[in-house]
Structure formats: structure tokens, C-alpha cells
Amino acid sequence: MSSSTEFEPKIIAFVCNWCTYAGADLTGTSRLKYATNVKIVRFPCTGRIDFLLLLKSFAQGADGVIVSGCHPNDCHYTSGNFHARRRWIAFRTVLDLMGVDIRRIQYSWVSAAEGSKWADLVNNTVADIRALGPYAEYQKVAEYLEKEGFDEEA
């Protein structure tokens, strides 16, 4: 395990129930090891994921985010992953324009048969985010917005 001085990023994974959640189950069944930093939140489909929740996560202290679902054409609901992909492409452009560090969002597809891909995805994302360091900038912006009353929901 890492030494206590090393930065341990907080990463949240937003995954669909049918492919990536099952894939992560397979990682467990196969006893493949990966870093403890990532915690999975289960959704029925990546199409369900409201990307504003990603920004909320950053505002509240997440250093990185993984979004992962079924491969194209594999969606349990036929087209949810296509909606998510389209949304991600648009969202990524807007975020980039706004100055949000989009390297902190890892968008991927992991099928129910790809247990080892899930382990690699987690380990690589943890290494990348660790190299980037804490995402304090976004939290500061969010705090300011909250204080000034721009963010109604917080």
C-alpha cells in the first residue's frame, strides 16, 4: 500500500448495472487486485447519469470520476449508452471551454466479461489522478459560487 504521505485521490465511479457493475463483480470473482480509491455508485444505465452530478462530485471534494457502461450496441436498454455517449461528447466540450479539467473524467466501456479491464481502468485512473493531484481549484470555485448564492441546490 502507498505511504501515508502520498496523495490518495477520491474517485467515484458511475456505472451501469448490466455491464460495468457486472464486470466489476467479475473482477472480484477472478480475485484481481486494484486500488481502494474508487467507489462504485450503481445506476440502471449510463443513460440515467445526469452529468451535473459529476460537477457536484467535484464541488464536494472528488478528485476524479469514472463513467462506464456497456459497449455500443450492447446496451440492455438498446440505446441508453448512445445517449450517454452523445451527452458526454457535448458535455466534455462545454466543460473544456469553461476551464474544467476534463482529464479528471474517465469515460469508458467495460462489459460484463471484462473483469480485468475494470481492474486496469481503476488502477490507471488512480495513477493518472494521483499525478494530477487534488482538485482543489474546482472546490474553491464551487465554494465561492455557493457563498454568492449562485448555486441554488447546494
Partner: protein
């Protein structure tokens, strides 16, 4: 304040070996809203479940979190236990401490802390859970079977014999499928038509089966137990209620040179035709593409011949709607043509045939009445070469899979040839012999040993014509890669079995998934081979992957049992994981603004328009409403909704927000 019970499982040592389960229970016990937290060796065991049930009653719990294995494993178990104790089952959630924690991390402080985080997350979610009631939907006890080959025939008969109505549709003018084209069947060499045609007649006469030939599925709407199928009845141009099937029109039809589909292009047929003598129904259709009258506006000889006036020139396609509760897909497969193989002459050589064409040559009902004769000059081939794996197991051709039936039918073909052409020489080029099946290996050995078929292990590089002979150039890998050249009179390619044409479009109409080769995908490769991922739609036969007759029949009966099991219920219970549009008191009614973005996002057409009317009947507003029978709970609409008016039960915005925040605010 909530009263939540938390139950941490050791899973023997599967969890407790790397996670300090006692510490997890202790720390979670101190959380706000947690009334009771324990750990136990096997939570899913009888005593474990009893702990939960007793705690629900003793502490009056209003939520339960079980930290154990994956919810994909035991969520139903624990929800049932809660329901038995009187707690709404949807107030029970699972934290995945095994697959997502103890199995993937080493024993350490961090692992235990992650386990605590995972449980906390679900505790926060449970606080926002609402009791949900299962959705009950009625079942239409009538099945639709698509495809009238042996798979569809078997499935239809089995379902019909359980007492339920069946609608069988077939796109060709007759049922029977590929099996009706076969000469003899392995490994018994009994005649294919002799075992099939009685079944075909049984289908036509069964009181519970409604047969539509020359018909195709136009669209399918609805959901398990409640499908609405629109079926296109293609115009046959012959009135079947008056036609006696005498066949006079067929004899008089002047257009005689159309390649016969039934004879795999080796024979010809007329424009008004019955595909084969044993067809069911045994009445003709007019092929409008080739008929003189439809092409040029004159002829009508069949009309003059017909004694009962059955010809209907102006008949149009008709679309009917049938309500069904389940669908069995039995659309079968196709084989690659010889034109797919440049190395074997692109289909230019008349005496290079596919296995299916050889079947027709060998069949007593075929164009040569069962004699093996060359299509080019009608002579009997003295030397014949069979090439197995033509296309199959060849990633370069885009068909990396094994077509499964070719090893067996090639052995059968070689055997039939030896039986029919005395003194003939047959050679089989093969990669491996895959004869897995009852009496299959013995059958292949018989071909080699008793019928002296020459088996050469190796690939054929080229086939070309020279002086009326087909020169087959190959290699014998068992002789150290020695080149082999055979002057053959006929070459038969065991061409790859591929998905039937139109299978991709059909899959999209039905919302079933398909594999990269356009075969329909089963729900689970081992445990759900006849189900699809779409509830209420089942698979039978070679539309799922190439397979032989016994396997197809077994699968068709399996699908029929699944349908019968479904029809044994008067109502179906569905998980209430569906989207709902919020409703508020007047004058707001709902925060929905009626933009219907959700409608464009929904893959199931589950969004309806609800009109809110005043007492005088005047329209106040139109808002979205979710048809909970149609909704499958993907939640795509939720992410789309601009006014956050639609939410999905079980994964509400509030719930997922609480989960995420519990991970961050500490």
C-alpha cells in the same frame, strides 16, 4: 429520524479475511439514523435471515442495509426476508463488500475503510428509499412464432399442445425451412422429408395453431405478456379459400425458367408455383417479379386454366394486428454461396456446389431425382472432392466461428456419394473433424472405414477448371505439408452457416440484441440459452448460432416450455423500477412543462401525453405520463428532463445524490 438496521456478513472468511467486519459494524452503528448494526458469519443462511427478520420487528426498522456479496447475487434473498418480516422489500439495499471490496483488495486499513464507505453510502440511500409496490400486468396467452422451419414447427406444436394458441408466420410460401431441402439426415441416414412432412401437416391441422405463410413481421410493440404484432400478409394472388391445389395453372404457366429456391438454384420453377410437392399449404402463389402479367400486362393463362376462378390479380398486401404474450424467434440461418469464394472460382464453375445444392442432388425429390449428376453436362462424377470449413473458422473471411454442422454433413455427403456412385472416389479436405454428439464420431468413422472415403487433413488453396476437369490444389498436413492435386469432376464446398438475411432488421424491430455475426444473442450463454435480454422473447434453433436438427428441436421445446411457464400466470409481477412524472396539487399539477424531451429519449415508447382538463372539460395543460407497463427503467428520460420532473423509482435523483455525497462529506 430513520431507524435503519445494518447487517454485515463475513461470508465465511470471504469478507472477514481482508475486512475488519467488527469495526465496520461498530462504526456504522454510530451513524445517525442507524438503530441496529451487527456482523454475522453467513447472513444469507437461515439463522442470518432470522436475525434480520427479528431485528425488523424488535427495533421497528424502516430500512435495512446488508453488507455482503453483490446485489446481483442475493438482493432478492434479503428483500424477501424483509418482506416476510413486514418491511417493504424496496427498503432493503445491499452494499457490495465482497466482489467490490474484500476480493479485490489486500487486508489493510484502507480496505476496511472502503468497506465502511460502501455501507455508509447505502445507509444514506436507504434513508431516501420509498416503499414501492410491484407492478402487475395481465398476460395474453397466445404466442407468436416467427419462422416455419423445424425450430418454429417444433416450438409451435409444443406450445399448442399445452393448450395455448399459437400464431406461426413464415415468409416463404410453405413451411418446412432448410430441413425440407435435405436428402438424408445424419447420423441415422433417415430421409429428412419423411420425418418432417408429418409435422408440417400436423401444424396445418392443429386447432390451436393459426398459420400465416408468405407473411412477415412488420413491427412489434409492447412488452412481455402484452405484445402487439403487426404482420404483413404478402399478396399471394391466389384465393386460398377457393383454390383446390389442383396444380393445372402451374403446368400451363409459360414462365418456366426461374431458378428454384427450394432446389438451391439447381432446378427451375414457374412464376405461379408451389415451392415443392409436399408444401404446406399445398397451394400456389404468383411470384410477381417474374410473372408475365405483372411484368408486361398480358398473359393470364393461369386465370384461363383455373376452373374455380381463384386467381386474384388485384390483391394487395394486407397488414393484420395480433395480440400476443410471448414471441419465439425461429428464423434459422443461411449458407454462404459459392460466389463468396474467389479461390474456388467465384461461383463461375457450374460443378462447384454448396453443401445445400448437393443435398438437392442427393434428394429423391431433387432436380435429378436423387442421382448425383454434374449440373454442367449431366454426367455422373467419377471423382468428387468435398472441402470442409469453406469460410468457417477463417477470420480473414470474417467468419471466425465454427459452423458446427459441416463436419457431419460432409461425412454424410461422402457416404451418400459412395452409396450412389459405385466405384466413385471421394476425398474430403478438412481442418479438424468435429463430431461431438451421440453416434456422431461413429458415423464419421463409418464413412472413412466402411465407405472408404479418403480424408485429407489440409486446406485447399485453389480450384480451377482445365479440360472439363476441376483441378483441386491442396496440401496434406499429415504428410508434412505435401502438395496434393486432384482432378475432380465435382467439388462440394461445406460453406459457412451465417445469419439469415434480414436478421439484423428483425432484431431491431424486436429490441433483441445480436452478436457481431448478426445471430440473435441469448440472455446468458450457459444458464439462459433460449431467453433473450428482452423479456417475453425467446430463441429457437439456428437463428442463435449454427446448430444441427436434434439441438434445434431441443432448443425449440425449451423455448416452448418457457412460453408455457409464462402463460401459466394470469398476471405478471414486475419490479417497480420505473420512471414517474411528479404530480402536484392544482394549480401546478406537475413541474412537467410538457416539452417531451423524455419522449424522444425513451427507447420503449413509454411516454404518453396526459391532458389535464378543468371541470368544464377545457384543456389546462398537457404533461408527460409514463406507461409503467412499457417502461423498463433505464432512466434515460431522467437525465434528459429539463425541469427535473421525471424521476426513476429506486434510483431517484435524491437517492443517488445522497450516495455520492456520503462518499465526499466526511
Amino acid at each position: 429520524m430513520s431507524k435503519i438496521g445494518v447487517f454485515i456478513c463475513h461470508c465465511g472468511e470471504n469478507i472477514s479475511a481482508t475486512v475488519d467486519v467488527e469495526r465496520v459494524a461498530r462504526e456504522i452503528g454510530g451513524m445517525e439514523g442507524v438503530a441496529h448494526a451487527i456482523d454475522y458469519k453467513y447472513m444469507c443462511s437461515d439463522p442470518g435471515q432470522t436475525f434480520i427478520k427479528e431485528a425488523v420487528k424488535k427495533y421497528g426498522l424502516d430500512g435495512v442495509v446488508v453488507g455482503a456479496c453483490s446485489p446481483r447475487m442475493h438482493e432478492p434473498t434479503f428483500r424477501r426476508a424483509c418482506a416476510e418480516a413486514g418491511l417493504n422489500p424496496y427498503l432493503c439495499e445491499m452494499a457490495n463488500l465482497r466482489e467490490h471490496c474484500s476480493w479485490v483488495h489486500e487486508k489493510s486499513e484502507e480496505t476496511t475503510e472502503k468497506a465502511i464507505d460502501l455501507v455508509k453510502m447505502l445507509v444514506e440511500k436507504v434513508k431516501k428509499d420509498k416503499p414501492l409496490e410491484s407492478i402487475k400486468v395481465p398476460v395474453t396467452k397466445r404466442a407468436l412464432v416467427i419462422g416455419g422451419g423445424i425450430a418454429g414447427i417444433q416450438a409451435s406444436l409444443d406450445i399448442a399442445n399445452t393448450g395455448h394458441k399459437v400464431i406461426l408466420i413464415e415468409r416463404d410460401p410453405s413451411i418446412g425451412g432448410h430441413m425440407s431441402q435435405l436428402s438424408e439426415t445424419f447420423p441415422t441416414l433417415d430421409c429428412s422429408q419423411c420425418i418432417l412432412t408429418p409435422r408440417m401437416v400436423e401444424v396445418a391441422q392443429h386447432p390451436n395453431i393459426k398459420l400465416y405463410t408468405y407473411a412477415e413481421l412488420e413491427s412489434l410493440e409492447g412488452f412481455i405478456g402484452n405484445f402487439k404484432a403487426r404482420i404483413r400478409l404478402k399478396a399471394k394472388s391466389v384465393n386460398y379459400s377457393t383454390c383446390t391445389g389442383c396444380g393445372a395453372c402451374i403446368q400451363k404457366c409459360p414462365v418456366k425458367k426461374i431458378p428454384s429456391e427450394f432446389n438451391a438454384g439447381l432446378g427451375t420453377r414457374t412464376a405461379i408455383y408451389v415451392p415443392f410437392p409436399q408444401a404446406v399449404p399445398n397451394k400456389p402463389v404468383i411470384d410477381r417479379v417474374n410473372c408475365n402479367y405483372y411484368k408486361r400486362g398480358a398473359c393470364k393463362i393461369c386465370e384461363k386454366t383455373c376452373q374455380v376462378g381463384s386467381i386474384e390479380w388485384d390483391k394487395e398486401d394486407e397488414i393484420i394486428t395480433e395480440e400476443v404474450g410471448a414471441v419465439v424467434l425461429a428464423t434459422g440461418f443461411d449458407v454462404k454461396g459459392t460466389d463468396f469464394f474467389p479461390e474456388y472460382g467465384y461461383g463461375k464453375y457450374k460443378d462447384v456446389l454448396t453443401g445445400l445444392q448437393f443435398e438437392r442432388l442427393a434428394s429423391a425429390s431433387g432436380p435429378t431425382f436423387g442421382e448425383i449428376r454434374r449440373p454442367s453436362d449431366g454426367t455422373i462424377p467419377k471423382k468428387i472432392v468435398f472441402i470442409a470449413c469453406a469460410g468457417s473458422r477463417d477470420p480473414a473471411k470474417g467468419i471466425p466461428y465454427c459452423s458446427k454442422i459441416c463436419c457431419m454433413y460432409t461425412a454424410k455427403h461422402a457416404m451418400l456419394y459412395q452409396h450412389k456412385v459405385h466405384g466413385g472416389e471421394s476425398t474430403v479436405f478438412y481442418m479438424d473433424i468435429r463430431a461431438g454428439g451421440k453416434n456422431y464420431e461413429e458415423f464419421v468413422r463409418r464413412a472413412i472405414e466402411e465407405d472408404t472415403v479418403n480424408y485429407v487433413r489440409g486446406r485447399v488453396a485453389r480450384v480451377y477448371e482445365k479440360d472439363g476437369k476441376l483441378i483441386v490444389k491442396g496440401v496434406d498436413t499429415l504428410l508434412g505439408g505435401q502438395q496434393v492435386e486432384i482432378e475432380a469432376d465435382m467439388v462440394v464446398l461445406a460453406t459457412a452457416g451465417v445469419a439469415n438475411c434480414g436478421s439484423e432488421q428483425l432484431a431491431q424491430k424486436l429490441h433483441v440484441s445480436y452478436d457481431p455475426y448478426h445471430f440473435f444473442a441469448e440472455a446468458h450463454p450457459k444458464l439462459k440459452p433460449v431467453e433473450t435480454n428482452t423479456a417475453g422473447i425467446f430463441l429457437a434453433g439456428a437463428c442463435q448460432a449454427p446448430k444441427d436438427i436434434p439441438e434445434t428441436v431441443g432448443m425449440a421445446s425449451g423455448a416452448a416450455v418457457k412460453v408455457a411457464a409464462l402463460f401459466s400466470n394470469d398476471e405478471l409481477v414486475r419490479e417497480p423500477i420505473v420512471a414517474v412524472v411528479n404530480r402536484l396539487a392544482p394549480p401546478l399539477y406537475s413541474t412537467c412543462v410538457g416539452c417531451f424531451m423524455c419522449e424522444t429519449a425513451c427507447p420503449y415508447n413509454a411516454i404518453e401525453h396526459e391532458e389535464i382538463k378543468g371541470r368544464d372539460g377545457s384543456l389546462i395543460r398537457t404533461i408527460a405520463r409514463v406507461n409503467e407497463g412499457l417502461c423498463q427503467g433505464c432512466g434515460t428520460c431522467v437525465a434528459f428532463c429539463r425541469s427535473k420532473s421525471i424521476d426513476i423509482q429506486g434510483y431517484t435523483n435524491e437517492q443517488v445524490y445522497a450516495e455520492v455525497m456520503s462518499l465526499l462529506n466526511d
